[in-house]
């Protein structure tokens, strides 16, 4: 059942003011409807501007095919999986799916338990590359990742985290979040990043 966790602050890119947003564990019909009726048409329209999935990175629309409702229903029956949503201005601003049935690859924590982010996305209207200057809210991804780190602490994984990144997000994970870039993962076809206990602490301290 959908559960309110806490209020988080998102920055309105237009007014520069911070606005209260609600962070929830588990998605509900409102989130599925927002994805299908609000997100998907924008993502598919932008995706159609590009010939290939790789090229769609330029328009920040590579996730147009993600099936959030299906993933969320599967996750609700699994002890290892959790879904999260951020809502603000009565619309779903971000979605995330994580699993705790995963292990670290980075040498200093190899084989230790991690929270692995399977899917993470901010609403298409929040993406500067997709809507240019009209982008609305900043901070959705950071708030969701902070929650994944919080879950890692709750499970006694000490903040350890892993994720694969779409091309357009790699520089943020590497240069802004300061996560460890472990290179290209042939099996997933994406860059793999891992977060150490020290990096998790630093990320939350800057939150």
């Amino acid at each position: 059942m959908k559960e309110f966790l806490r209020t988080v602050a998102l920055q309105n890119r237009r007014s520069k003011e911070f606005e209260d947003a609600q962070l929830y564990r588990e998605l509900d019909q409102k989130n599925f409807d927002d994805f299908e009726q609000l997100w998907k048409p924008m993502l598919e329209a932008r995706r159609a501007d590009f010939e290939s999935w790789e090229a769609a990175a330029e328009g920040d629309a590579q996730d147009s095919h993600w099936h959030w409702a299906e993933k969320a229903v599967d996750a609700s029956t699994s002890m290892a999986d959790e879904t999260y949503a951020i809502e603000c201005a009565d619309e779903t601003q971000g979605l995330m799916l994580v699993t705790s049935a995963a292990f670290a690859r980075l040498e200093i924590q190899r084989g230790r338990e991690i929270v692995y982010i399977e899917l993470i996305a901010t609403a298409p209207w929040n993406r500067p590359r997709l809507v240019k200057k009209a982008a609305r809210y900043k901070g959705v991804g950071r708030a969701l990742i902070a929650e994944a780190i919080n879950l890692s602490y709750q499970l006694e994984f000490n903040g350890r985290l892993g994720l694969h990144s779409l091309p357009q997000s790699q520089s943020w994970y590497r240069d802004v979040a300061q996560f460890t870039d472990m290179g290209y993962d042939d099996e997933k076809g994406m860059q793999y990043f891992e977060v150490t206990e020290a990096q998790a602490k630093a990320f939350l301290a800057n939150d």
Partner: protein, 69 residues
């Protein structure tokens, strides 16, 4: 999140293993048992759905299929 309590009776051998894993993983026994449940569900459901779970030796790339019986 709702919590329910149960008493778990373990043999000496099982408790020794739980102590050792708790120490080596840096987790409390409760967190460790919860994680074991999550992993067990994850593995068994994949197998029940017809998927195969493998363990691979990094040196030789030799794969062993994990069976749950």
């Amino acid at each position: 999140m709702d919590r329910r309590q149960m008493t778990l009776m373990l043999s000496d051998k099982e408790m020794t293993l739980l102590d050792r894993l708790s120490e080596s993983r840096g987790m409390s026994k409760t967190a460790l048992v919860r994680q074991a449940l999550r992993l067990y569900q994850s593995v068994t459901e994949r197998i029940e759905n017809g998927e195969k779970v493998f363990v691979e030796k990094p040196s030789t790339k030799e794969k062993t299929e994990l069976m749950v019986i």
